[in-house]
């Protein structure tokens, strides 16, 4: 058995462990992305539903104050409705950004994990190479000379 064979085993085990950890993390990221996507969609649906259901009471409140009616279209009402719709849009935009950030963060995490795995394997290869060279050049059997 050569020195290379002697030291490859441990490094191979380390590499296999890293790959396994990487896969587990990848699975976790995929699950997080899926769950995040579902959660974001549901939340945006809830926001939309909340604003749509609140639109009628909003119109009723303007009517009770005489700011709205069958022949009444006041500026206050229009401004109020524009703000109400803008708030809905803003809430949807914030949730969209949150979902995008969450998904992209999962992607970045996945990328970083893959990069770390590649770097770790390369580091292992370099360490193994160095150890083989060190072992080969130590020449313990001939140190007496």
């Amino acid at each position: 058995m050569s020195m290379m064979d002697a030291v490859s085993g441990n490094y191979g085990l380390s590499e296999a462990g890293a790959i396994l950890r990487r896969r587990n993390r990848s699975i976790a990221n995929q699950q997080a992305a899926t769950l995040g996507q579902k959660r974001g969609s549901r939340k945006m649906s809830d926001i939309t539903k909340q604003y749509v259901e609140g639109f009628a009471p909003k119109m009723a409140s303007y009517g009770r104050r005489g700011l709205a009616g069958p022949n009444v279209k006041s500026g206050i009402q229009r401004k109020g409705l524009e703000q109400y719709a803008t708030n809905l849009q803003s809430s949807l935009g914030a949730e969209t950004s949150n979902l995008q950030d969450q998904l992209n963060q999962i992607s970045v995490d996945e990328t970083n994990s893959e990069s770390e795995l590649q770097q770790y394997i390369n580091d292992l290869a370099l360490a193994k190479n160095q150890r083989i060279i060190d072992t080969a050049t130590q020449l313990r059997q001939l140190q007496g000379y």
Partner: protein
Amino acid sequence: MAIQYVNGRLVRMTDEEVQAAIDAATGPTADTKIPKGTRDTLTPEQSKSRAAFEANAKKEGEARQLAEKNRLKEQTAWAKKDADNDGIPNGIDKTNDSPPPPAGGSQNGNTNMAKNSTPVKDYINQQLRAAGLPDTPANRAMLRKEYMEIQADEKAETIKADAATAKIDKETTDNKAAFDAIMKSIGGYETRAGTAKTDAMKRLADLYDPQTVALGTQKQDQLNFLQKVLGQAGTDINASEQNFLSRLINPSAYTDVPLIDMPQQQNALMAALQSQGADTGKVAEQSASDASMNTFMKQLLSRSNTQYGNAQTNYVDALRNSGMGAAKSGRDYLALEQPRLASGINSKFADALASLNTNRVSSEGDIMETFRKAMDDAASKKVDAETDYPQPVATPATPSMPTYDDTPVAGEVDGLTPEERKRLKKALANFGGFGSRVDF
């Protein structure tokens, strides 16, 4: 043979001619007669001169007598030693094939001597003639007695010389036996020392040679292992680099990121608002403002993602460069380490080998030092033996004895006196640890 001054010149004369001249000039012969009454007619001065002349003549006669006596003595002694008169003593003359002298004949084997001419007669006649003595029985008896005394003295001298020679021969023989025994023991001692040295060297070789070979093998194994390890390390680095580059993920997370720009919700109150005559402009204005904000947020996120993607691309480029740089550094390090480690291995094993060789040389030095001491001991004992038991000059001072066996010298050594035997045993027992001990 002599050189004489005759009539103003030097003349070579034989001994007989010299003797005849002396006799003619000084010695009165048997035939010399002094006329009666002549003495009485001499004046006192003449008588005194005559007496002086006769005294001198007598002294000269005695001197000649003694010289002749010595000559005959030497001749006789030499004749005994040299039967064939060839100048070589009988003891060492291997060519002496002359027949032994006949019983009662001449002692020097001269068979040409006349039958009536015996040594004693010759001696008496010669002495009478030389001394100018009258040929009377008394003189002859005196001279015969003198001759016999001379012969007895010569015989005694001969016996004494023979005894001395025999003693010398015996001492020589004993010395040689003792010397040979010591040399034999020394030879065995040297042989055992050489064998012990060779065995010790072989044991050292058995101990160190495998280690030396093992060191070389281990070094080569380490070098091979080094190459294998470095090769495997380089292969691993290259493979790791390729694997790293192939598995490096280009950033795509921030490309085509899904972003939503949500549309504005339709306001359910618009119809009612218009029926009441209210203005719908504000609602439309609010819706447009929200839509604009959503579009802006999406664009902002999209732009951020683009920036993140660019940053990730730059980061991955940095990772790629880092990985490739680390691989290059690893390869460069291995390329630098290879010669250093190889040098370290070679150096370490060279040190180990040097240490091993140092120990081996030290051990070999100890062995050689022990061997050298043994050889010095043997040489010293040889010198002692040559001093205690001197050998003839013809005998080599340091005889080579490589073929001596190591049989211990035990028991009695023939021909030695108790004192010599004791001294020999002591000398043999004092050898080093390589020699066998002699039981006392």
